[in-house]
């Protein structure tokens, strides 16, 4: 058995000290990779097990490719970034789309655990010469567009923009120049380490020598001459992945891959004529508009009469963009115009239009492109601008938006954010009053309100695997509990949240069993997902978070949405919401304050809360 096994790389950015630890088969079996393994390593690497600040040098930041990210499975190239939330001090997990997870996995890395703070901004490069820290020089503080252009060609990269260096709580890391990396301040996690970017480039060595020596690093990246935003390097073929562990059952992996592709092809939301592969996730705007759950004018309304002027098909017609996707994905979901403008996804499009009460598609695209360049969370920033206008008692003015975004990025941690948020993160482009399971999942999400976190969009909006009544809490506690487990398990293996609309744990289990040779069933993976979520709950509880963090803003319980077309958008019932949340806590094995019970923690082989 001369197979290379993946390694976890521990890197102290202050000293350049670096060590590798092989990932044991037991660890791989228990936690897979990605979101789960990153969470496990994050928990294990806590200084004295205590909750520190997100930017304390000893607080680790973990960047882990999905456990199957290197194997060319569709919708399975993601990595996960895990650190401490700048908003709550609890956990922040952010999915990293694009080629980074794929690249890290093919370099033989199961993950990076970064501690310490470099003396100056650095770029972590993983390439044929191993891992190196390169001083970022003048690139630090520039827009991400310039950063990605200077780094190209890459297999995958994640970078911080100006908002990260100013300390904005809206700072968002950007992957491959086009993908938002979660919400909740992901950009701050890297900036706190003085890390401008993590890049995997082509030409990986069979056994990379991990040489970290910032003092002698080979030259400063030069940003004087910024070329056009170059695309990623072509993903290498399967034979060209020297670091990737072998596959126990190649035929089984091919069958799993075929099964995943068949399901994606059969999914109307992914591969259909109106699906994400055709229009990107912004396709959802037509549904939220038609269902009267489109957050409008800072959530004062849930219906936006001009929605058709800013819909995804409208943007498609205006920009004729090209599709950009993750390696191996049959339904590429990002849209980039000929001039490099990045079309917004659903949350960004929704908040850059309806939430501001503005129906200008060009403004929405320009604003989204600027947000990505600034490394600023587009929906969060739009919500902040909508809130300013509301406080000032006026409607947002179109000519103020782009300047407003730049100001938000400059102002840093002092900027005022929208209070219509959970765990400090503005609610996304789906009004909680329009889907009750979604409302619960937005409230209880461990890192903030993630509309994909509990998989409720699938059944409440997209009718998959079956439709459920969106205006009831009945059965939703269980739906959120099970949905979170599925999404977390998929995240452990590099799964794209969108693809969980089609690909289930049965298919992931086929792939895991084929790669590892260990018999694995859907139930095993559901348990892995459960463990992942409870571990994140544990981190939140350690940081002092309680049930108050799992609450929706009062507005949604007191104000009705915009009823009409036979759809009644009532305020949420607080008793019903609390009953559903209590039901969720029971299923999840949490106390009344939302902390894991010792019993559940032990059953899942997790440490108990002290």
């Amino acid at each position: 058995m001369d197979q290379p096994s993946a390694h976890i790389l521990f890197l102290d950015l202050a000293t350049g000290a670096c060590r590798r630890e092989p990932l044991s088969p037991a660890r791989r079996h228990a936690d897979g990779g990605g979101r789960s393994l990153a969470g496990a390593c994050f928990l294990a690497a806590q200084p004295d097990g205590a909750a520190g600040r997100f930017d304390a040098p000893a607080t680790p930041v973990c960047l882990f490719p999905g456990g199957l990210a290197g194997y060319g499975l569709p919708g399975a190239s993601f990595a996960t970034l895990v650190g401490r939330s700048p908003h709550t001090g609890g956990v922040l997990t952010a999915a990293v789309p694009g080629g980074l997870g794929h690249g890290l996995a093919r370099a033989g890395l199961a993950g990076l655990v970064l501690t310490g703070r470099a003396a100056q901004p650095n770029i972590l490069v993983l390439d044929g010469r191993g891992a190196r820290l390169i001083p970022a020089g003048a690139l630090a503080g520039q827009g991400t567009r310039a950063v990605f252009a200077a780094l190209a060609p890459w297999l995958g990269a994640v970078a911080v923009g100006p908002a990260g260096w100013s300390g904005s709580l809206l700072a968002m890391a950007v992957a491959d120049g086009v993908h938002p990396v979660g919400r909740g301040g992901s950009g701050l996690l890297l900036a706190a380490k003085n890390l401008l970017a993590v890049v995997v480039t082509d030409g990986l060595a069979p056994h990379p020598a991990f040489v970290i020596n910032p003092a002698k690093a080979g030259g400063t990246a030069d940003s004087a001459d910024v070329p056009e935003l170059a695309g990623p390097a072509d993903p290498a073929g399967p034979a060209d992945a020297p670091g990737l562990a072998g596959v126990a059952d190649p035929a089984g992996l091919a069958a799993a891959r075929a099964a995943m592709l068949r399901l994606i092809d059969a999914s109307p939301a992914l591969a259909g004529p109106c699906g994400f592969g055709r229009f990107g996730p912004a396709a959802l705007l037509d549904l939220t508009a038609g269902r009267r759950m489109l957050p409008t004018r800072h959530f004062r309304q849930t219906f936006f009469a001009q929605a058709d002027q800013v819909s995804a098909p409208r943007l498609e017609a205006l920009y004729a963009p090209r599709a950009v996707g993750c390696p191996g994905c049959p339904v590429p979901c990002r849209r980039v115009s000929a001039t490099g403008a990045v079309l917004p996804d659903n949350d960004a499009l929704s908040h850059l239009t309806a939430l501001l009460g503005l129906a200008d598609p060009h403004l929405a695209v320009a604003a989204n492109t600027i947000c990505l360049d600034l490394g600023l969370d587009p929906p969060g920033a739009a919500a902040a601008l909508a809130f300013f206008a509301e406080v000032a008692g006026r409607e947002p003015r179109p000519e103020m938006i782009l300047d407003g975004l730049s100001a938000l990025a400059r102002e840093g941690a002092g900027a005022t954010l929208s209070p219509l948020a959970v765990k400090g993160v503005a609610l996304p482009g789906f009004d909680p009053r329009g889907a009750y399971g979604l409302a619960l999942s937005l409230a209880v999400g461990t890192s903030g309100p993630d509309p994909w976190g509990g998989l409720c969009l699938a059944h409440e909006l997209l009718r998959k695997p079956v439709a459920t009544d969106r205006f009831t809490f009945a059965g939703k506690a269980r739906a959120v509990f099970l949905g979170e487990n599925v999404v977390a398990a998929a995240g452990a293996f590099g799964g794209c949240p969108y693809c969980t609309l089609a690909v289930g744990l049965e298919e992931w289990a086929l792939a895991v069993a084929a790669v590892t040779g260990v018999p694995t069933c859907a139930g095993d993976l559901a348990r892995l997902g459960e463990r992942t979520v409870v571990r994140e709950r544990l981190l939140n509880a350690q940081a002092g978070m309680d049930a108050a963090a799992d609450q929706l803003p009062g507005l949604f319980f007191s104000q009705a949405g915009s009823s009409g077309d036979g759809i009644n958008v009532a305020p949420l019932s607080r008793p019903d919401f609390l009953a559903a949340r209590a039901g969720y806590y029971r299923l999840r094995g949490l106390t009344e304050t939302g902390a894991p019970t010792d019993e559940r923690a032990s059953a899942l082989e997790l440490p108990c809360l002290r």
Binding site: I264, D308, R314, V466, L482, A522
Partner: protein, 395 residues
């Protein structure tokens, strides 16, 4: 709360009987809300309760199959254990296999259902779980019965061709055939088109969908239906029950100006392609069993695509005048969206097309009358041709 849950369980048990999946009163549906409720008392309650508890799901159905499904599944389970591999396209897409459970213990049942959405427990019935709702488990039960039926008859014809039929297979076949419902003889009259407004379109679709299910030409949770009017395609939603389409229809602009079709049937792409190629306005898609079975009967023993007929059959095949085309569910590179529409629109508009291992598409100029009659006639034709094909081999 508990009374509500009991009522819900009862409703789904009734639906199992209405769909012909169980004899009346035989289906056992268990739903969990605050308490666990059963549709009826049963000696299997403890087993089902253990499944709910250990799987953490909201619903489990135990469906003792009605005939001929019982004969079929018992035969397949005995022959194919530890798992029945479906041959039809739709079941293959959504189910990898149907585990055959070795013993009626909680451990064995839970192990099977932790792997798959549904399983078969010989001597007892189909077991399926639903994380979200009883409907999810119901869809699985329906799929298992359909997949078993198709596989049983398709395998039998293939074995007859290969000369490998044994006594047990012959006995099971005779028993199943004796319990087959007769083919429908009469197609009910449907509303006459052309339809002038949205309301009459939706009503006509609901009527046609109901009739298609009642004639046994599709199980209610499958199939799809559409009608194009004034640049808008009214099409059944994905997962909509064809016999209960009220509120289950999306109106999708054909100019692509809206993504309202995100929730439409996974065959939306095929329907819109048809509208572009063929002036007939009504489209009906069902899964009539013998059409599906016969479409998988390929006499080309030395074909290089022997195991990939459903996606890559290189031959032009017909049942009489009705073409059989390959193609998978949906809009992928091997999707039926590329093969079915040109075949149905060919020769000035054919009466129907069979998608290999999947189902049948038919059309009507202004309403669903002809589309339904053609769907029914094609199934009757295929049933006849199936038994004729068998008759050419000595039994």
């Amino acid at each position: 709360m508990s009374a509500l849950t009991t009522a819900l369980a009862g409703q789904w048990a009734d639906r199992l009987a209405r769909a012909g999946l169980c004899d009346p009163g035989q289906g056992l549906v268990a739903c969990l809300d605050d308490d666990l409720a059963f549709s009826r008392p049963s000696s299997h309650q403890a087993l089902v309760a253990a499944c709910i508890d250990r799987l953490g799901v909201g619903c489990v159905i135990l469906a003792p199959p009605a005939e001929p499904h019982r004969t079929i599944l018992e035969f397949l389970a005995a022959r194919e254990a530890p798992a029945i591999r479906p041959r039809d396209c739709e079941t293959r897409t959504f189910f990898h296999d149907i585990p055959v459970i070795g013993e009626a213990t909680p451990a064995a049942v839970v192990a099977a259902l932790a792997r798959r959405k549904g399983a078969y427990l010989p001597g007892v019935g189909i077991l399926a779980h639903g994380a979200l709702s009883p409907e999810q488990a119901f869809v699985t039960v329906s799929s298992v019965a359909f997949a078993g039926f198709v596989k049983f008859f398709a395998d039998h014809l293939a074995a007859a061709r290969a000369g490998t039929l044994d006594a047990a297979a012959r006995t099971a076949f005779a028993a199943a055939v004796a319990k087959l419902p007769p083919p429908p003889t009469e197609v009910p009259p449907l509303a006459r088109g052309p339809f002038a407004d949205r309301e009459s379109v939706l009503a006509a679709m609901a009527e046609a969908g109901r009739a298609t299910v009642e004639l046994g030409l599709v199980d209610s949770v499958f199939g799809n239906i559409s009608y194009s009017l004034d640049g808008v395609l009214a099409i059944s939603q994905t997962g909509a029950a064809l016999d209960d389409l009220v509120g289950g229809i999306d109106c999708v602009p054909l100019d692509g100006s809206s993504c309202a079709g995100l929730t439409a049937s996974s065959e939306l792409g095929a329907h819109t392609a048809l509208v572009r190629l063929d002036s007939r306005r009504a489209i009906l898609h069902g899964h009539p069993r013998f059409a599906v079975i016969l479409s998988m009967d390929c006499a080309a023993q030395d074909c290089a695509q022997r195991d990939a007929c459903h996606v890559a059959c290189p031959r032009e095949r017909f049942v009489d005048d009705v073409p059989i085309v390959p193609g998978e569910v949906g809009c992928g590179p091997r999707g039926l969206v590329h093969t079915m529409p040109p075949a149905l629109a060919a020769d000035g508009g054919r009466r129907g097309v069979i998608v290999c291992g999947h189902g049948v598409f038919t059309m009507g100029a202004d309403d669903f009358g002809v589309a339904l009659a053609d769907l029914c006639a094609i199934e009757t034709l295929c049933r006849t041709r199936y038994f004729q094909a068998l008759g050419t081999f000595p039994l």
